[in-house]
Symmetry: C2
Subunit: 435 residues, 2 copies
Amino acid sequence: MAELALTQLHPSLDDPVLLSMNLLNDIASDHPRAVSFAAGRPYENFFRVEQLHDYLGTFVAHLTDVVGLTDEQARRTVFQYGRTKGIIHDLVARYLEIDEGIAVDPDAIVVTVGSQEAVFLTLRSLRASPQDVVLAVAPTYFGLTGAARLLDMPVLDVGDAEGGLDLGDLERRVTAARAQGRRPRALYLVPDFSNPTGVSLDLATRIALLDLAAYLDLLIIEDNPYGVFQADPGTRPPNLKALDTRHQVVHVGSFAKTGLPGARVGFVVADQPVVRGGRPAGTLADRLSLIKSNVTLNTSPVAQAVIGGKLLRHGCSMIAANKREIEVYRANLRRMLAGLTARFGDSGPVTWNTPSGGFFVVLTVPFTVDDDALRRSAREHGVLWTPMHHFHHGMTSSHQIRLSFSLLDDASVDEGLDRLAAFVTAESRAAGSAA
Amino acid sequence: MAELALTQLHPSLDDPVLLSMNLLNDIASDHPRAVSFAAGRPYENFFRVEQLHDYLGTFVAHLTDVVGLTDEQARRTVFQYGRTKGIIHDLVARYLEIDEGIAVDPDAIVVTVGSQEAVFLTLRSLRASPQDVVLAVAPTYFGLTGAARLLDMPVLDVGDAEGGLDLGDLERRVTAARAQGRRPRALYLVPDFSNPTGVSLDLATRIALLDLAAYLDLLIIEDNPYGVFQADPGTRPPNLKALDTRHQVVHVGSFAKTGLPGARVGFVVADQPVVRGGRPAGTLADRLSLIKSNVTLNTSPVAQAVIGGKLLRHGCSMIAANKREIEVYRANLRRMLAGLTARFGDSGPVTWNTPSGGFFVVLTVPFTVDDDALRRSAREHGVLWTPMHHFHHGMTSSHQIRLSFSLLDDASVDEGLDRLAAFVTAESRAAGSAA
């Protein structure tokens, strides 16, 4: 009987980074009645099946009435194999202009199976030899680390400091890597309401980062799943791609949070010029499209049509499309922050950060947080969250917890925080008596 | 300005294999009025937008009425992030039993973004070190070769002989590769109505292949996009997975041809046991799921719902769902074979094979066929087809042409063959006068 030893499969397949998500999902599914601060899913109470029909119909009508296709051509666009770079690239470009202030040629966009594929394609293009490495602001979303593992591409940590990025550390890491014969290709980060920290870079840091990256000859992979979810409208600085005058930024976006996760539609803007023997050879987007041809071929045109229809229904603004959700996230964030103060005070050993939007808050506690602590929390206190060490590869514990609040209603926030407080009290007491 | 030299990107991105599809698409789009024997797309005249609504509605009703989910749970299943291995695995398992005679635990199935992702995930799992190679029956579908290139995994050709596979050659290639320190991991092939040749393996060859692969300790990757499209019902031998008693076969399937291409839904059956330190550690499907988490995360649940609904509408039989299409393909195949005889006779220098189903016929001509010949055919004769050398990596010409007939009606078949005959006559004359 054919039996496969793990030692004969790709090393990533027994790597803690790839196993993280499974382990967390297993703990969650063992405790279905727990209140969950774990899942980074968008609010779902406004979902209706009829929306799918409406969005599909809207997109097909757009193809015939606005684009001018015949019924047969419109059907073919949605049903058949299609353009590798996608069929809603023009709508994505309008969305980027309206919501994100990014002006880009639609042909420099590749529509992908979520932002995960966008990151995977980008790393594949840049990982040309074993010397190539990617840098990432730590703590790092494990989708980046996992994709890099699959491609045998080391990830070098860069410190996040107070403001979300330690520029001095970035320069030191790049210089040290080069001195070791490594080739740093890009810095990955989530500059707006980061996963896992919820922190955003201020404008001065963004501008300084672009200048430093130019000086260091380093691309920036800007992952932007949460940008439109700002709690205080008008306070968000432009994203890196909007400030990019030198084609330094590969911008990765997602409609999983703003559209619907079940469509699995994301995209990458990659307008970097590529040269062959000094002569123009298209853009990086053209090359990512070649890779995509051999990974997933197309992003489902049906799924793209659903997202296209949602964009069209709201003038290509996902801020407009998510008016109600943005209000929920804003209210939940405020309730979380007020609820934490009410339960832990503002001078105690338990502290937390105060993001200005997004889905996440980070709690720092005076005891060690590992996966067993999460299991105790789920079993004894009925509350789930994400241990921060999963976002630091190589670590198995820390003193931090990621709290996600995107999926909850008022009562769940309150109940969840009560349970969390009971867990923190119990663990602090146990840590105190052990000390 | 950031500018990327191709020499600093992954080598596959300047590889003829990856550029093949682009080149062929470019020639096709330069000649929109040509009759096309090139596109391997399913027949599209039965597509209706209403079907999407019907399929989605059918699947959601199944979740509530049969599976017993609440409306809220059903919505969540289709709208939210979901199970990495997919949400229609049980329906896929029923389809495999009904149409393919394969009995498999639904948990050993991973639903993928088309069969391309299934092949990519499988190769990623098996390519553990630079010694690992995959074998493929030549000529080979370029999706396999392209995926292997992205993973720096060499592809070793195996001869196809008369019956579709030269078993002696397979054994010699594996032995020679091992003698060179290489580690052959699997043989990739399309045993039913192969792309590009249209040829099928007979039952004796299938059984002998399974025995030889067991002897050689080699997995088999069976890619089966066309199996249900047999022209003569009841004559198709069981596929390799249906004959597999030793977990030797990784079976890759696709709903692109039977469902709809625009859903981009395929799957892989990988029931191989995996061991860690001699102890059970799940199946290969579990490991492919880990890879998928970091490549595309999920296959769009919306797209899966469309395919799930189509399966449910037809008792989980894609043969039943494609009754009309199968009739079209059968009629087109007969019209192609009769039309070739009418135009080229049965004793001339032009020959072709006679597949018993699928989408393709292969023509052998007495002159050299390269990409320039295709350009002349398109420009001067208004007919497109696929030069066979694109399925032989490293070759730039051959004497063969792949003719696809799946997308055509009677008039197009006749007109296309007339144009093809004119092209063949002109090229034969030019070759004769040059000789």
